[in-house]
Symmetry: C2
Subunit: 317 residues, 2 copies
Amino acid sequence: MGIIAAIDLGGTAIKGALFDGTGPLTKKNHPTEAKKGYGHVLQNIDQLIQRMADNKGIKVDEIRSVGVGVPAFMAEQGRRVVLAPNLGWSDVDFASDLAEQMQKPVFCNNDANLAALGEHWQGNGKDIENLLMVTIGTGIGSGLILNGELYQGKSGMAVEVGHMVIMAEGSHRCSCGRQGCVEALTAAPAIVREAKKLMDVPTDCLPDVNITEAKQVYQAAASGDKRALQVVEKAAYFLGVALANILNFYELDVIIIGGGVAQAGDILLNPLRRTVARETVFFQRRPTEILPGMLGNDAGVFGAARWAALGEAKKRG
Amino acid sequence: MGIIAAIDLGGTAIKGALFDGTGPLTKKNHPTEAKKGYGHVLQNIDQLIQRMADNKGIKVDEIRSVGVGVPAFMAEQGRRVVLAPNLGWSDVDFASDLAEQMQKPVFCNNDANLAALGEHWQGNGKDIENLLMVTIGTGIGSGLILNGELYQGKSGMAVEVGHMVIMAEGSHRCSCGRQGCVEALTAAPAIVREAKKLMDVPTDCLPDVNITEAKQVYQAAASGDKRALQVVEKAAYFLGVALANILNFYELDVIIIGGGVAQAGDILLNPLRRTVARETVFFQRRPTEILPGMLGNDAGVFGAARWAALGEAKKRG
């Protein structure tokens, strides 16, 4: 596939990698600096690619195309950013603008879609025909591979598992405006919120009760704190209900859990597996494996590289 | 397509019609008599087809094939009945058994799938590429047409909108075993249950407060009873949340509401449209029309005829 620059654009950092046909040649990061404006972010991406090329003694001209995962609702098969709350962008022709900046073909898509594609290409979704990847961090992202291909719907909007309502009339308002979305019940801020309610008394396992990060709750659960375990199991229950709802619509071979919260591992995954098994018992024909991501934080750049390679191949026809 | 016998198999009645290429030639019903056993139901279907043929002066030999909608969870693209609670059947090779009884090709599918196919062929879904049909009665059935074709998933299990959980930890246990399914919140028994709670005082509009049927509640709502209206609007809200969840996954041109409860018309459909519009505002690219079914109770036989015609065409290759 020649050399491809793969970018995973985040709210605070831009992750980059150069790929040849076999895998990543080099990886580097650069601050996003979204507050300095849209044009500045484009320049930062340009600079990061330049630095990676310099680092490997490659001329930027040798880079055939650029793949970018964007934390955004996107339309037109990833060409258009409808809304990127963490970047402060709405309705921009990001792919065209970056292509002009770089003087190269640019292939963009939603970051969670590309994480799914990355795990499908080189991770725990390898050779799997039907898989869903759910990335859990501050928000919840998701990407769906159906029959071996990224599924995007007619207009190319991502499948947003995080904004499935599973608690109608639930009191928790989601960032999207709906009430009772999975994201508002399961993502990191929900873990912190629920933990604060329960874990207000110091214990041996958790002497510091100033909970500010979901990671603290997962660690406390792993070391046996029953209240933390209760919080984690509740989050797993809500996520499990949502995944069971999805398995009612799509028959999936594998569900991959990625993102920050997923590093909690079996403390989260085991109750999640139990809920999914229980909630699908009446309609599921065969079990769906629930696995952690294999590529960790690199799933996005792997997916971006793959998306650019697929985009090039499609262009060649 | 020659002459096709179309059957809509229900818990109490078997609806039948004979179709030629242009539409139904004749329609007749026969009691299901499910309690008399599986073989007896097969014979009743046979008899009904015989009676319809006699009625039109057609020899049964002239009927090329039989299409049947079954109120069941089905597998293997509709060949196998996994579970049909209203008939008391589980794990039967219904299509093969009926084919042997009739000495003709038999093409079966879930009844709601075939209602969707019927509306797509000759009803309010005509020329629509992507549509969902939801039939609301004692239970909730659903059928999905994607890119002009019935979508069944890999193993052929129906997409069961009714068993999407939208009220996790909700107190209402569904017949399927899950808690907080749309069906447990929106179908006819839920309407009656909620109405009984609110409407225990006689009023001018509703002197008889012995509510036994959802129809009474819809009629009371239509004549201005505020409590009945509240019950209907709540049901519409729950159904709307579920439909919005689905529109997050599939981009649909039209959603068709059919079945007994749907006869309530705009009293149900208007609040439903409002909820769907509100709950999809952040991700929907274009509006989805919500329409009542056009074929009423005949959607099932229309779909059964169409399914048999498609099955024959596929066999011919």
